[in-house]
Subunit: 194 residues, 2 copies
DNA sequence: ATGATAACCAACCGATCGGTTTGTTGCAAG
DNA sequence: CTTGCAACAAACCGATCGGTTGGTTATCAT
């Protein structure tokens, strides 16, 4: 990897961490620069402005991260149990510092969807991709599921509840509350089976 | 009402609208001042700083608004149907401009819970109050509900899903998606009955 | 050896932020 | 009639923001 590409990756990685912690608007370029150990000229050599840096972080860091997080759970032979195990292990292993930051997708959705159209469309695209993943997984085992279910609707419901539960855990700082909502979500998911 | 109290109320009302639209941190005092038609000296006569203004907005505007929104649904004879009617009529009557702004409680939770402890504790208190309202309503008709239910857990689940669905509608700008998730939430809620 | 280019640095810019200071007005009590 | 305080207005402050500019260094083909 060339020096330039190395610097670019470093910027994106650190910017992703800052955005995850403080949101996009509250993230200061100065902080990124000092953490990277580079100057502002270096950053603006690689990115035309802050917004383009944000888009790059979303596409090159957040999206692959989200897909890598959800994919394994959904490609199990039994995606129902795969999802429940995924949610449960996440709520069990969650430490306080993670609970505070929340899901990067949900964070950006809350913050930027009604602020910048570029962000909104990228977030929307990712939400649809995630939803399609869940629908595909359910379709593969649709013989085991209740026949009247609308998979798209159910998939959005699951993601909405998951995001809402991460939101709740931000104020409580208590993973037991998160675990409770996740437990209830797993009840719901398992009840999708015949 | 005295002139001073009138000015104070005007500031809070307009600040509440700005915070609801743009979040707390992105809300500019200058904008509030010009919308109110007052000077900065006037604002700082009534509030010691921006944070205290934010607290006042939360306690004197958002909290009463939220309680007035949820209370009627929960004090029905049948809180299950009350909640479903509440959610459904909200998703039906929602216009695009409302969908973009989301729920004030959820917005502040996402933005401020890990930024300011004063906000976090106030939000947490409100979440607990809302949860208690739901638990109380369910307890009154517990004879009609499935016996194995943990009401607190169920209540948090409902609120989490509702907040997650408002989050989803921010990106889609399409109330049909919101309606779908709400419809699935109503399925879940009605299934709480025996 | 030299010119070109990629990759970067340091200093600076205007704008805006939350917050402070000083001054002014209207009314009400003495 | 004047004194005093409540209720503001207007100007200003330092800090920080995203962004720009002009130069510097290292590499590499010619």
């Amino acid at each position: 990897m060339s020096d330039a590409e190395q610097t670019r990756q470093k910027i994106i990685t650190i910017a992703a961490d800052e955005i995850h912690q403080h949101g996009f608007q509250a993230t200061s370029l100065s902080t990124i620069l000092s953490r990277c150990g580079i100057s502002k000229g270096a950053l603006y050599y690689h990115f035309t402005n802050k917004l383009e840096l944000g888009y790059a972080v979303f596409e090159e860091n957040f999206i692959p991260l989200l897909l890598a997080t959800w994919q394994p759970a959904l490609s199990q032979d039994d995606p129902i149990e795969g999802l429940c195990d995924f949610f449960t292990s996440m709520s069990d292993s969650m430490v306080c510092s993670e609970a505070v930051c929340g899901c990067p997708l949900n964070n950006l959705c809350e913050e930027m969807a009604n602020v910048d159209e570029g962000f909104r469309l990228r977030i929307l695209s990712m939400q649809q991709k995630l939803n399609a993943l869940i629908v595909d997984a359910f379709t593969k085992v649709k013989g085991d599921l209740r026949p009247e279910l609308a998979f798209g609707q159910v998939a959005y419901f699951i993601v909405a509840t998951f995001h809402g539960s991460t939101s709740l855990s931000k104020t409580s700082r208590n993973k037991e509350l998160f675990q409770q909502v996740i437990a209830e979500l797993c009840h719901y998911i398992r009840a999708l089976k015949k």
